[in-house]
Amino acid sequence: MERQLLLGAEAAALGAIDAGISGVYAYPGTPSTEITEFIQHSPAARNRGVRAAWSTNEKTAYEEALGMSYAGKRVLVCMKHVGLNVAADAFINSALTGVGGGLVLAVADDPSMHSSQNEQDSRVYGKFAMIPVIEPSNQQELYDGVRHAFQLSESLSLPVMVRLTTRLAHSRAGVVPKEPEPERTLPAADALPSAERFVLMPVNARRQYARLIGLQRDIEQLAECSWLNRMVEGTASTGVLAFGIAYNYVMEVREAFDMDFPVLKTGQYPLPLGAAQQLFNQCDSVLVAEEGYPVIEELLRGFFGNGQVLGRLDGTLARTGELNTDIIARALGLEPAPAAPVPEIVVPRPPELCRGCGHRDLYLALNTVMAGHPHDHVFSDIGCYTLGALAPFSAIHTCVDMGASVTMAIGAAEAGLRPAVAVIGDSTFTHSGMTGLLDAVNRRSSVTIIITDNDTTAMTGGQNSAATGSRLEAICLGLGVDPLHLRTIVPLKPRLQENIAVISEEIAYEGVSVILARRECVERAAKRNRNT
């Protein structure tokens, strides 16, 4: 078949389509968003009626996927690393229930935090759940690897994780697809998974846990002979154990410096012990090159250290951030090409809210109101409005995880902080803010929650939001917000005075108030106009 130029995220998506999936469930998050978008726009997927809509959050997405797998169909679920924290409850338990049709979790990590709050390593979650993890090193391997993961999932009746990192997800390369598989058919009633597997009450859970433990040998065996793992022969006394995309940087160094060190390339976990043993026997020292946490390095080093192991723990590699060719070269004692420094006159250019964005007018009003209070700190959430933390607004003071604006404001209010103001977007509110709002209502907290309803999930590129407009109002009322303290403002310059007045009034109220700051994202409006 013809070579296509695909982002890693798109290669993963095409692999899933060609594996015959019936659905993809996801919540957008950089760098995972393009996986689902590719499936949504794929004619092949559309013709087959593959379900591809955004879920309210990663946990609902994971559970929906588990349901589809229960019904015997292949299914993909996608999220970014921090999203897996949200889905963790369902994810870990699904290792106990096992799956019906193949279930593959594609999770995209963000080392160097290009667009994230932390750089946690999803492989730890894979190990925690005791399921197989695969980590391809390039776009073609990703395409083939996702198809491989579906087979693996079905052969073990376990979910399988495919781990991507930013560079792989967001880098384009040629991919040659292979013959697609047909979609699975719905099984007969008696072929559905038994209640003994899926009802995780203690008696069943204990048995299923024993099964999972019992499978570990098989999982290790499968990793040992996986095509994703292979040895690159060499003679130097320092060898490299390279995982996922780190392999590319290592091979680049090998070529650029004309080196002959042996490399064990690993793309399927757990670690292929036999091959690793061989590398350690052959070499005086081994550099462990993995992107993210020193997961395998820690394992090899052990509690009392192993002088043969070089990596992030002994400072041979930096403890944080993504890897690259220069970093690997230095770790191997090589001197990269000299480079001039950035000229001194170059100043930073941070991202900012678009010109004409409604959040700007909201922050103008909010800052004016807060300036009149001794405590002017505002709890925020994750979305474009988080950029309000930067100059010239400096309007928000926290951003921890999806939904934390509302709940942190509750805690602060209960500590006596006034005013306690939260800013949260429409999509984030449905993702994780609604339950917090219910807490506020039940506890009669003195909080003001500003929901910035821009009609979309703007930060990730404008995906549909689970609720905006009048549905947001209905949700707030349904959760018990007093209709008198559910106000709507339109963040526009000419309405500044009006908006200042509304915010001041609601901040003065000792109880739960919600202000819907409603104005369409200008980027979304522009896109809509282009399409009509």
């Binding site: 667009s115 560079r167 220069d326 590129g461």
Partner: protein, 205 residues
């Protein structure tokens, strides 16, 4: 043949379209391609860059090491400077000269120009002005691509074919305008490279 190219600009300026054209041209030339993109947070008017590598053999890394780029293509002068550490000693720099001033402390454009002239045979282009002559400022990224064309290692005709392919879904007139912009940039670049004085130093003061 192996080319390491850094693309630079400000989020929303269309550097990914430049990348897409080179990608298409390379794909149709049977070359290997690696192109790392920026998505998400940094796109909102922040500094963005993309690493693009093409070669007639296997390419390992998605990222280009500092000091090894053959070419920096920028649609903004300060962003060109920000990427200058990536240039190899023999590397070339091609940039549009219209500044995007959306933050505090943007240096004086003359200082930026002086600094750019130290990067080794740069091609400095008034891209928006040339694009406007072709019908729209929005095509200034294609002017810059045209100016960079002599250094990419792919024949200009292939790049033009890439432009047609990329823009044809937006209409034949849009595709033509972008092709005109590309040719304008190519011409300006060739003139500048041939001129003994190098880039004009009096423009944009």
């Amino acid at each position: 043949m192996k080319k390491n190219i850094i693309l630079a600009g400000v989020g929303g300026q269309g550097i990914l379209s430049i990348a897409a054209v080179i990608d298409l041209a390379a794909l149709h030339s049977g070359l290997e391609i690696r192109q790392a993109e920026v998505h998400g947070m940094s796109q909102r008017g922040g500094a963005v860059e993309s690493h693009l590598r093409i070669a007639d053999r296997e390419i390992h890394s998605d990222l280009i090491a500092r000091g090894t780029a053959d070419l920096v293509i920028s649609v903004e002068p300060l962003e060109a400077l920000r990427q200058s550490p990536w240039l190899a000693p023999s590397g070339r720099l091609v940039t549009a000269m219209e500044p995007v001033v959306n933050m505090e402390g943007y240096p004086r454009i003359e200082a930026v120009r002086r600094s750019l002239l130290e990067t080794g045979a740069p091609i400095l282009i008034d891209a928006q002005q040339l694009a406007e002559e072709c019908g729209s400022r929005r095509a200034s990224n294609m002017v810059v691509l045209g100016a960079a064309a002599p250094f990419i290692g792919i024949p200009p005709e292939r790049l033009e074919a890439g432009i047609s392919e990329l823009f044809e879904r937006k209409g034949a007139d849009i595709a033509e305008m972008n092709t005109r912009a590309f040719r304008k940039g190519l011409e300006a670049s060739q003139q500048q490279a041939a001129s003994p004085e190098g880039p004009p130093t009096n423009a944009m003061t």
